[in-house]
């Protein structure tokens, strides 16, 4: 169990996140959903230690001494390089790169600059790049938002396989697509958690 305690975040005098006693169980999958501006991405970034909470509680836990935490942004940056070079940024393992290119059906994109891929193709490539490393805690912020329905289903299957025996937090607006992989569904609004549903997978 990872206990974060009270997580609060204020931007320009406005409280955007205020959660009492936030905790997650190791090796479980949490799907977080809620309206725009409900604080989901802010919570994800705080857990990933990309931004501090108001009291620096998460940083003081020193989670990165114990866990390798990976975070995939809502709009990942795509580098002005080809497919393979973009994926290999994370890790130089060419065999793993090839295997992920095949899994995500990206072979047809070889040779082009990744800047010229469509939004869905860039998102698949970013997921492949992310999966080049083996994280203990995985945080995805809307990882399939730009994909078509078929690609979404494939991506979620790959994510499910990748996150076996890992702790995962996924932010999504498309709950029906991912709820079957969730151990817990957390619903947020106005910076607070108003519902936490336990599911059996």
């Amino acid at each position: 169990m990872i206990n974060f305690g009270k997580i609060k975040k204020t931007y320009n005098g406005q409280v955007v996140l205020d959660i009492d006693n936030f905790s997650i169980e190791e090796n479980k999958t949490y799907v977080i959903t809620g309206s725009n501006g409900s604080g989901k991405s802010t919570l994800a970034k705080i857990i990933a230690n990309l931004i501090p909470d108001d009291n620096n509680i998460v940083k003081s836990l020193n989670l990165e001494d114990k866990y390798l935490i990976g975070y995939l942004a809502q709009k990942p940056y795509v580098f002005d390089m080809n497919l393979e070079k973009n994926i290999l940024i994370s890790n130089n393992d060419k065999n793993k790169c090839e295997s992920l290119i095949k899994k995500f059906s990206l072979e047809h994109l070889r040779g082009k600059s990744a800047k010229k891929f469509s939004g869905g193709e860039q998102q698949k490539m970013s997921l492949a790049r992310f999966m080049m490393k083996d994280y203990d805690i995985v945080i995805f912020d809307e990882p399939t938002s730009a994909m078509d329905e078929n690609s979404k289903k494939t991506a979620v299957d790959i994510i499910e396989e990748y996150t076996k025996n890992k702790t995962m937090i996924m932010i999504t607006h498309d709950l029906p697509c991912v709820e079957h992989i969730a151990d817990y569904i957390i619903k947020m609004d106005d910076g607070k958690i108003y519902d936490r549903i336990s599911r059996s997978r």
């Binding site: 995939l72 002005d80 940024i89």
Partner: protein, 207 residues
């Protein structure tokens, strides 16, 4: 021909050295959000406006027979002119690339920190994403160098067959009333600039 070779040697060396010094500093100032960088950026922007004759005077005093760096024997040499040019152009290189990096890096930061990329790799990626701008910055450095008169004439002395470059030669011919020669050299200077710009533009298209 001799003037052309001296001009090209001075311009190419000074612009390349300025880029090699200025680019890493510009990237550092742009990508690291620390208080001392804000102060250094203000200093750099002030140096961008340094009058060339002030820089020339400073170098003259340093390299002259009573100066602290007289043992380097750089006064009235092409190498001394290169040093003066580097002092003038490096702040311009830094000041041109820094704002671009300051805008670029926040777009990449979340992605790179999310997948735990090392600091060294981050810097390589920043350079990769700035390739087009780096070529433009080099063109600015080269153009500044080839057009310089004040500092190079003070440090180099415009010595015939030794430190006379095209800009100092144009000035001398104009003073002597030989406007035809001065104009001819001016046209050659512009042609050199044009050729370098064409080569750089072709490189940027490839990028």
């Amino acid at each position: 021909m001799g003037i052309l070779l001296v001009t090209m040697r001075m311009s190419v060396f000074s612009s390349v050295i300025s880029l090699l010094i200025g680019l890493p500093l510009g990237i550092l100032y742009g990508y690291k959000d620390i208080k001392v960088n804000k102060f250094l950026i203000i200093i750099n922007r002030t140096l961008m406006g340094m009058p060339p004759v002030v820089c020339g005077l400073l170098c003259y005093l340093l390299f002259s027979g009573v100066g602290p760096l007289r043992h380097l024997k750089l006064l009235f040499t092409v190498e001394g002119m290169i040093v003066a040019q580097v002092l003038l152009i490096t702040p311009i290189v830094i000041g041109t690339i820094e704002p671009f990096i300051k805008k670029l890096y926040p777009e990449m930061k979340e992605t790179l920190e999310g997948i735990k990329v090392s600091e060294f790799k981050k810097l390589l990626l920043i350079v990769n994403e700035s390739k087009y701008e780096i070529v433009s910055v080099y063109l600015i450095a080269f153009s500044r160098s080839i057009a310089e008169v004040g500092a190079v004439s003070m440090v180099g002395g415009a010595i015939l067959f030794k430190t006379n470059v095209m800009t100092t030669a144009i000035m001398n011919y104009t003073n002597m009333g030989d406007f035809n020669m001065a104009m001819a050299l001016g046209i050659v200077l512009l042609l050199i600039s044009l050729i370098v710009n064409i080569i750089a533009s072709i490189m940027q298209l490839g990028i």
